[in-house]
Amino acid sequence: MENEKLIAGICSATGEVFSMMLGIELQNGESHQETADDESFDGVVGLIGLAGAWVGAGRLSCSAEFAMQVSTALLATPYESVNAEVLDAMAEVTNMIFGNVKTNIEEEYGAMGLSIPTVIYGRNYKARSVSSSGWTVVPFFCGKERMDVKICLAPGSGAFARAEQIVHQALRP
């Protein structure tokens, strides 16, 4: 059930950001769980950390071509290469998507904070999270392009996390 809410939160946040800010309607693909992320990758990855009662990371990945298409739509400027402005735009898209995912799931998972996003662009690289919990992956399609939005969350173990969990449980009807 929790995973269904997480997936719904991702779909709603991603759809809203693309539709309202970019004028792009995405098609949702079939969500799935991923236990390892060892595959080599070409393209752009946006990463952001989440911390609170639950801790984890959000990850957005797409081809360089789609990153340029997204940046062109967001900034109303044509881009033909992945430059600093494209990376800034993808960082902001990552921030907006996971900022809204956070808002959508906070009732279930408790209050969380977001880190500053990091964007990586390259070819034939691997990105790996050391979390033992798997990733919930929701693919989105725009024509032939695919963008994966992933999140991994696990209960936090720090004092803040415990306090948040107690308050969250106490406030539950």
Binding site: S71, L74, L75, E92, M96, K102, T103, I116
Partner: protein, 123 residues
């Protein structure tokens, strides 16, 4: 009359988008000042006169709430319209921003129409 605006956001992309959106919202833009965070915004303001401030909440160094509190405590700036534009969805922070004297609040993602509606009656 042209309106001088200060845009405070740690994302260069959002600062660029907001400038475009203000034009789409039929705001006759004068000078546009940009700042990465609240601290830089205070420095940019200096003796410049602006008629509108658009500010993010979650920023490094000085966040939007502290910036808002400082502006409202300053005799020179206490009446300048400030609209908070942020991904922050926490009701606590929204209430805090409004209590500190924000004139409005827009959540990212936003459309030009939403910004335009928010500015009606403010500028």
């Amino acid at each position: 009359m042209a309106l001088d605006v200060l845009i405070v956001d740690d994302s260069a992309a959002i600062r660029k988008i907001l400038q475009r959106v203000l034009v789409q919202a039929d705001v006759m833009l004068g000078k546009v000042f940009e700042a990465n965070d609240g601290q830089e915004a205070l420095e940019k303001l200096g003796s410049n006169k602006v008629g509108l401030i658009l500010s993010d909440i979650n920023m490094p160094n000085m966040d939007g709430l502290e910036f808002l509190a400082r502006i409202r405590a300053d005799e020179q700036w206490k009446n300048v319209p400030i609209v908070m534009i942020t991904t922050e969805g926490s009701q606590n922070k929204v209430m805090q921003a409004l209590q500190l004297g924000a004139n409005g609040y827009v959540r990212k993602p936003f459309t030009a129409e939403q910004i335009k509606e928010k500015l009606v009656g403010i500028i």
